[in-house]
Point group: C2
Amino acid sequence: MDQEAPTNPDLVAPLLGVSEDDKSKIFDKGVSHLTVFQTPDRLFESLDYEIIENDLFKQDWRARKKEEVFLYIVTKWAFAFLTGFIIGAAALIINFSVENIAGAKWLVASSYMTSGRTMTAFAIFTALNTGLVFLGAAMTVYLAPSAAGSGVPESKAYLNGIDAPRILEPITMVIKLLGSICVVSAGLYLGKEGPLIHIGSCVAYFLGQGGSLRYHMNWRWLRVFKNDRDRRDLVTCGCAGGVAAAFRAPIGGVLFALEEVTSWWRSALLWRAFFTTAVVAVMLQLGKQFCAQGICGLFGEGGLIMFDISHAYGQFGLLDLFPVVILGVLGGILGSVFNKLNTRVTKCYIYWYLRKPPCVKVIHACLMAILTSACCFWLPFLVKCRPCPDLSDIPGYKCPTHGQTGNFKGFNCPAGQYNDLAGLFFATKDDAVRNLFSFKTYREYHYRSILVFFGVSFIFSLITYGIAVPSGLFIPLIINGASLGRLVGMIMTTTTGNKMDEGYFAVLGAAAFLGGTMRMTVSLCVILLELTNNMLMLPMIMLVLLIAKTVGDIFNSAIWEMYVKIKGYPILEAKPEPFMQQLTAKDAVTTSVVSLSPVEQVSTVLMVLRNTTHNAFPVIGESSTTGRKVFLGLVLRSHLLVLLKNKAFHYASSGSAENSKMLQFTDFAKPATGKSLKIEDIDLRPEEELEFINVRHITNGSPYTVLESASLAKAYTLFRDLGLRHLCVVPREPEEEPIIGVLTRHNFLHENLQNLFPYLMPKKQAAGKTILM
Amino acid sequence: MDQEAPTNPDLVAPLLGVSEDDKSKIFDKGVSHLTVFQTPDRLFESLDYEIIENDLFKQDWRARKKEEVFLYIVTKWAFAFLTGFIIGAAALIINFSVENIAGAKWLVASSYMTSGRTMTAFAIFTALNTGLVFLGAAMTVYLAPSAAGSGVPESKAYLNGIDAPRILEPITMVIKLLGSICVVSAGLYLGKEGPLIHIGSCVAYFLGQGGSLRYHMNWRWLRVFKNDRDRRDLVTCGCAGGVAAAFRAPIGGVLFALEEVTSWWRSALLWRAFFTTAVVAVMLQLGKQFCAQGICGLFGEGGLIMFDISHAYGQFGLLDLFPVVILGVLGGILGSVFNKLNTRVTKCYIYWYLRKPPCVKVIHACLMAILTSACCFWLPFLVKCRPCPDLSDIPGYKCPTHGQTGNFKGFNCPAGQYNDLAGLFFATKDDAVRNLFSFKTYREYHYRSILVFFGVSFIFSLITYGIAVPSGLFIPLIINGASLGRLVGMIMTTTTGNKMDEGYFAVLGAAAFLGGTMRMTVSLCVILLELTNNMLMLPMIMLVLLIAKTVGDIFNSAIWEMYVKIKGYPILEAKPEPFMQQLTAKDAVTTSVVSLSPVEQVSTVLMVLRNTTHNAFPVIGESSTTGRKVFLGLVLRSHLLVLLKNKAFHYASSGSAENSKMLQFTDFAKPATGKSLKIEDIDLRPEEELEFINVRHITNGSPYTVLESASLAKAYTLFRDLGLRHLCVVPREPEEEPIIGVLTRHNFLHENLQNLFPYLMPKKQAAGKTILM
C-alpha cells in the first residue's frame, strides 16, 4: 500500500534505453554513477509532512510550555542562521581554492608561453588539469558516487516529499565540495553553482537531523526537529542559501527555491529563507572585504562570481525590441536542442558505464580533461593576431595582457596585438563570461572567433555534464548564451546600426539560453540582475526570458524535469493530469486494506508488519451503539515499531491505557532517515508475543479521506496540495468494511495509472498541460 | 450554511468601539466612508474556486478542441498584457498630472515668495491645496465612497475568496485615479502607491468579468473567464502590476502580491504576474523616455518615483552592524506604535462620521489640507538660514535653489544661504524623500530641523490616512523612516565616527519603518532595491527589515491585517488556530442540512431556495442495492437557478436525461458579481411548479469531505489550502442521514467559534501564533 517505488526496473529501464539483459544489472549491482542506481535495494519512501494528530500529540500540545515554544522558535532561527553561515563558508572555501589553484595554473602556463616554450606550457597545463580531474573523479566514484552531477534534481525530489537518504549525506557534501574545487579549477565546462545548491541542501539536512549517526556526528540535544515538516523547511532554506552563495544573489536564491525547487511554500518560510540568504550574502561580503587586503593569495576581488556592469547603458527604444525577440527565439530553440542532446548523451554514458568497472568513469573524466585542455590551448593559435584598439575611455584598459585575467590577451601575439580567442579559451570560465559581458569593447572579437568559441563551448557543455564528477550547468549555459548573444549583437550593430552595446547583447543572450534550457523566469531574471548589478536591464531581460521559455516549451520540458525523469524520482507535479477526471479514487486503489483493531495481540501485529510493506494501517473498531465496524484512524508502521521496541504491552485484551503513561510523545519523534526502527530490530520473547498492544493513543484520528466516488483529479489535488503520505478512501454507502483503501504516492504516478488504464491516456493531453499555463 | 457574514454588527461593533445605539446606525444607514459599511444589506459571499466536477463539466472537457484550449490560453495572456498596459497608462496619467499640477503650484508659490509677497504666496498655496482636496474628497464621498483609503485590504480580501462587489467596480477605479491625482498634488501626507494597487485590482477585475453590465460596458465575446479561479489569477496579476507601477519595481510587485496580498499561489501564476509587471515596466520606461524630450510640461524626468542612489557607497564592516540594529529596533517600536495610533485614529473618524452628514467628511478633508499647507509653509520660517556648503563633487550641485525641486532651497534666505527645512516641507513628498536619501550631503540638516520634520510628518501621517480620500501609506511611512534614519545617522557619524553616509542611514531608516508597520520582508527589500537601484545595499536592508519585523511583531500585527479586521472582512489565515485541534469537524457544524433528491418537484426546489440562504445543497439519493440513503454530491444554488430560469423541467418524476441536452456547460458559467440570478428573477406559472427538475447532471460528484471525527484544525487546513467554499462533513458510522453538515467560511471564523466555545480560547495562543513563525 505504501510501497512508493517507481524504481521498478520495468518503468525506468525504457527511459534509459536499457535492454532486458542490462536491466537486472542496473538494479542488482547499482553500478551507475547516477544517484538512483546507487540505491537499488532501497525503495523510495515518502516523507511524513502531515501532522499526526493522535492523543499523544494533543496531550503534548496542551502541556507545552511557553518556554518550550520559544525555544523551538529560537532553534528554528538558529538553524537557519547556521545553515547560512556554513553555506557561506563553503562558498568562500570553494571560491578561494578555485581562484588560487586555477590562478597559479594560468600563471605558470602563461610564463612558459611568454618565454616561447609552447610545448612545455601545454604539457604542464594539461598535466595539471588532468591531475585535478583525476582527483575529483576518483573521489566521486569511489567515495560518494551520489556527489556526481548537479544535485538540483535531488534537492527537488527531497522537497517533493521523496525520502532518498544517500543523496543528502555528509560524505556527499564533502566530496561535492572537494570535487567541485578540483574540476572547476581544471577548467572543465562545468560550474560550481549546481553543486553549491546541493551542498546547501546537505548542510540543512545534516543540521535538521541533529547530525549523522552513521558518521558518529550527532548531538542528541539538537534533535528538536522531530518531524519531516521542519526538516523540509530547513532544506528549503538550504537550497535558497546555496543559490545565494553560488551567484551572490540573495533574492534570486529565495526565488529560485520558490520557483524551481520546492513543492510547498508558506509566507512564513519566505521570511526564513530570506534570512538564510541574507546571512550568506553578509558572509560573502565580509569574506570579499577581508581578501581585498591581498592576504588571500590570488583570490583578490574577482573570486566571487559577479559580472558587474552597473555602469552600462540601460535605455532602450521600441526598435531595440526586434533583436531581443530574435535572441529570445534563438535561445528557446537552441535551449531545447541542448536539453534533448544533453540528456541523450547522459543516458548513453549511463548505459556505457553499466558494462564497465568503475575505473572507466575516472579514465573517461581524465580523457575529457585532456581534450578540453587541448582545445583551450591550441584553438587560439588558429586565429590571427589583431591590433590593440584604442579604448582609453574604459577604466583599467590594458592591451595586450599576459597573465591570469584580462580582456585582451597577448598569448602568442607580438606587442601591440592581441589574440581574441585566447581571452575566451585561455581563461577561467568566470573570466570568459566577464570578457563576453564587457561593455564598450566594440568589435573586440572577430565573427569567426566568436563562432568557433560558441560551437566548441556548446559541444563541450553537452558532453561534459554527464561524467562522474560534481558538475553544474549554469556557467556552461551562460557561456553558450553570452557568446551567442555577442554574435547576434555583432551582426545587429553592423547590419541594422542598432546602438545597443555588444556586451548588453551578451547578457541578453545568456538570459535567452538559460531561459530556453531551465524554463524559469522570475528567479533567473533576478539572478541575472544581481549578477550584473544593473537594474535598468530588467525589462529587456524579462522579455527575452519570457520568449525563450515560451519557445522552448513548445519542443520539450525543462532540463531539470528531464533529469528528474531519468533518475526515476517519483515526483508529483503541481496539477493533476486531465485524464484523472475520468477516474474515481476507488479506481486507483490497487492493494487490499490490511487493518488493525484498537487492541491486537502482539503476534498479530508482528505478522502484519512482517508480511506487508505498508507504512500505515487503518484502525478499525466497533461502534458501541450499533456494533458495526468503524474507521478510527491511521496508525503508522514506525509508531507501531516504537511500541513494540519499548514493549508497551498489556496482559489482557481489554488494553487499559497504562502504556500511554509509559511512552511520551517525544518517544515517537521521527528519527533521521536510515535511523528508523525496522521490524528486524524487534526481539521479543515468545510469551511477550501473546500479550496485547493498544494502538488507540497513537492512532491519528483525523486522517484525510475521500469518498470512493470522488474523481481522482480531486483526490490528487488534495494529496498533492496538502503534502500527504496516505489518503484514505472511504465508501459512499455503508459496507462491511468502513475503508476501501489507502492511496499513496505510488497510486498517483503516471506510469502506474498508465499500466492500469492504458486506454485513458489521451493524445490531446500534452496541449493543455504545460505550454503557457 | 453559507451565510459567510461576519458583518454581524455584534461582531464588528466592539472593534470600532461603537455603542449599542450607534450600532444599528452603521448597519442600517451605511453612512461610513469605509467600504464594509457601504454594503450593510449585502452579506459577504465566498468565491467558487473549486472546480465543480459535474457531468456537464466532464462532457465539456472531453469535447474541448485543441483550438479552444489554445484560444483560452491566448486570452489569458492577452488579458495579462492588457492589464499591464492599462495599469501602466494609469500610472503615467497619475504621475504626469501630479507632476504638472504640483509643479505649477510650487512655481507660483515660489515666485511670490521670491518677490517678497509671502502672505500672498501662502494664500494662493493654501487655496490651491484646499481646492484640490475639496475636489478629491467630494468625488470620493458622493460618487464612490469605496475609493477612500488605500485599497490594499480590499484586494487582500478579494484574493482570500471574499466576494465584495462594490470595492472593485469601475467607478471606484476612476474616482480612485482622479482623487489620487488631486490629493497627492495637494501635498497631503498621502501616497499614490496604495491607490495604484487598488486600481490594478480593479482593472483586472473589470477585464476578468468581460466588462461591466452596470455601466453598460460589457462585451459578450470577452466572457471566456467563466470562473472565479481565472478571475482570481487575473486580479493577482493586477495587484502585482499595481505595485510595479507604483514603485517602478517589477520584481518587487510580483513579490508583494505573493507575500502580502494573495492567499493562493502557483508557479504558473508567478510567470504571468511577472509578465504583467514587465509590461508595466516597459510602459513606464517608454513614457519616461517620451517625456524626457520635454514635451510633457513639468513632468520631465522626476515624475516616476525613483530615488536613484546607484552611485553610492555600498561597503560595510562588522562595526556598521551596530547602528543598523539600533535602526531596526527603533523602526519596529515606532512602527508598531504607528499601527496602534493610526488604526485608533481611523476608528475615531469612522465613529465620528457616523453621526454626521456626508459633507462633514469633505469639510474635514479640506481642514486637513489647510492645516497641512500652513505647517508646510510656515514651519520653515522657524529655522535659521544656513550657509551653502561646498559640495562641488556632487554632480549638478546648486545652492540655493528657487523653484520646483532642489536639495538646498533658498526659500526666505539671502543669496549664499539655504533653508534646510524648506527642502523638506516646501516640496512634493517625492522630492522630500529624494532629499533625505541624498548622498554626500553631509550635515545638510540641522538636528532640530530633522527632528521637527520627523515629528510633524509622524503626526500628519497618523491623522491623514483615515480621511475620505484615496490615500496610500507607503510614502508617508518612507518619509517618517527616512527622517528617522537620517537623524540616527547624524548622531552616529558624529558620536561614533561611523563612516556610512547619512543618505545610507535614511534608506535603512525607511526600510526599518516600513518593516515595522507592514511586517513584510522580501517584497519590501526588493522594492527598496528597485527604488534606489543599488544592489550593494541588499544585506543591510535585509537585516534591518528582519529586525524591525521581529520587534514589531512582539507588540501587534501588521497594519493591513489591522485594517482588514476593522473593515470586517472574514479573511481566513494561512494556518488554523491551535485551539481548533481540540474541536472536531462536527462541532463546527451550526446549521442543519437541507438536502435535495436527484429529482425534485419544482415547487420543492423553489421553497428550499426561498427559505434558506444556503448556496449549496447536498444531493441525497437511494442506493440501488440496499435502498439506503446515499450522498451523491453538492449542487450549487446558482446552478439550480439556471435550471429554473431556463425551465429545464420534466413532466414525470422519473426525470429522464432530456434536459441535459437542452443546457450546455457554458450556460452554467458563473456570471460576474452582482449579475447572478436571484430567486426573485424566477417567474413560473403554477402548472410549471408541479413539474420535476433533475439535478443529477449538475451535481458535483466529488465534493471534498471530512469525517465528523476529524479535528477542526485538519478540516481548516483542507478548506483553506484548497480554497474551498463548501466542505461536507460525513458521518463515521452509518447513520440515517449520509451527511451531517456543510462547513463554510463562516464556520471557521474565530469570532463564531469563540461564541460557540468560549472556554476554548486559550491564553497562550498568542505566543505560538504569529511571532517569529
